[in-house]
Symmetry: C2
Subunit: 293 residues, 2 copies
């Protein structure tokens, strides 16, 4: 728990110091970028980056994972800003505050999202400049996870499934593997890369990330069905009203809970296959599951 708070403090301080000041011209754009990034939230993905690095012994080739963690959070935040836009989910509330297009305007939200996606790659390029091979590996991992076959592909498939009756289990898995699990896999793999993880260790991290990502998405679906907006910090019960293809809608809430347990167990097994100290990562996975127990 103390460790989790230390990670969160590092991330919040990193956001504060690595992002451009809010008065950088054009100020409205940089204000919107900071507004979106400073919205709090669980910071799950950057915590996973930092924790994955710490799971390995610190060697002479270890690099500070913080810029990589912030790059991942930039990508996640951009995807939320664009996802909330009127032409997508049209949401007014995110992490308990007005969404960026409600606090500013649609054009500013669009551009702030674009800028955060670009900033993610700038962070990697600038902060690992003395380690170009690492910078390259991190950029490759991030670009792949955030690309048209993974994160964006998952969002597109999610959109296409909306309101359509009879989403298949396979379509649902495509959405979850890509919309959610891709960036969680990448977070763990990027943390591993900063620690100099071997190819095999990276694969174990990706496997763990895939299971953890699936568990996390199902937990989110269950919470959307059983919580209120104040608890969630975003509009509750919205998935069902929007006719979203969720695990709960396709398989029912009991099956969803079971599936979340299974996927969490699989993630924990994958973490245990790593040689390093994965106590934090396994307890984080179990804590996430605890939200719906």
């Amino acid at each position: 728990m103390q460790q989790h708070l230390r990670y969160l403090a590092r991330i919040e301080a990193g956001i504060e110091s690595f992002l451009l000041p809010a008065d950088t011209p054009p100020a409205r754009l940089h204000e919107a970028m900071r507004y979106a990034m400073q919205g709090g939230g669980k910071r799950l993905r950057p915590v996973l980056v930092l924790a994955a690095t710490d799971a390995f012994p610190r060697g002479p080739d270890s690099a500070d994972p913080l810029p990589a963690a912030l790059a991942v959070e930039c990508v996640h935040t951009y995807s939320l800003i664009h996802d909330d836009l009127p032409c997508m989910d049209n949401d007014d509330l995110r992490r308990g505050r007005p969404t960026v297009h409600r606090a500013f305007d649609e054009a500013t939200a669009l551009l702030a999202g674009d800028a955060l996606l670009t900033e993610a790659f700038a962070l990697l390029a600038n902060h690992y400049a003395t380690r170009p091979a690492l910078a390259h590996a991190l950029a490759r991992e991030l670009a792949s996870a955030a690309g048209s076959r993974r994160l964006i592909g998952g969002q597109m498939a999610d959109l296409l499934a909306e309101g359509k009756s009879g989403t298949s289990a396979g379509e649902l898995e495509f959405i979850h593997l890509n919309k959610t699990a891709a960036m969680i896999e990448a977070s763990l793999a990027m943390g591993g890369a900063c620690a100099g993880a071997s190819r095999q260790e990276s694969e174990s991290l990706r496997t763990a990330g895939r299971h953890l990502g699936l568990a996390f998405q199902i937990i989110d679906d269950v919470l959307d069905g059983i919580s209120d907006s104040a608890t969630l910090g975003k509009t509750a019960g919205k998935d069902a009203r929007a006719g979203k293809a969720t695990y709960v809608a396709v398989h029912g809430i009991a099956a969803a809970r079971n599936f979340a347990c299974e996927q969490t167990e699989a993630a924990v097994s994958a973490f245990r296959r790593l040689s390093g100290d994965t106590a934090f990562l396994t307890s984080l996975a179990e804590e996430l599951l605890g939200r719906i127990r």
Copy 2:
């Protein structure tokens, strides 16, 4: 002229072979990405990448600039897709065809733009994987040029200036330097990087790009004022109607023509300072200017 056609053929073939097939799931997303990329246009930026590489003698460290050229075109195309959206310029026509949100829908256009921006970094990471230092240098150049202080900053400033009376010459220069010149500078610098250009040569390329970019934007402003939509392939006279801050609006058409000449001359001078063969680049700069002569 033959050389120009050869560059264009390489770029079109590269778009065809490097982009994911249109039936890659989710197909609608990949169709939209291809639709946007295959819209033709001058391909000015990727031509500049290829030509900048060719301005230097081919050495043992030279790399194929085509993936870098395509990455630049992906970023340019994404910026046009987002710029055309209803919350931005709300344009129906681009390169003589319906804009992406008109041919598909707004959400698909938003995601196709996001995907092309991400794909630009994936192209660099994947195609220069055996040259991580080069991959890193290219990603750094592109992320900087496309970021919140340059390309996106210029678009934001452009938007803020719209309909505002009395845009100053300084504000206008900020818009043009960032919205247009940034990516033209980066195109030349990235082409130079693929040829192993020295730091000093890269600086000359950036200087040339800045002048060429300013000239190109003014030429575009003048053409918007004097051409019809069929000639432009996009809605003509729109800048004036939208109250856009253009050089023509601020300084008048005669001053705009003079400024375009001066900037073209400055670009040509910078090209001549390079040691290599810049005949193609100088004639391209003069040809662009010829459109308003």
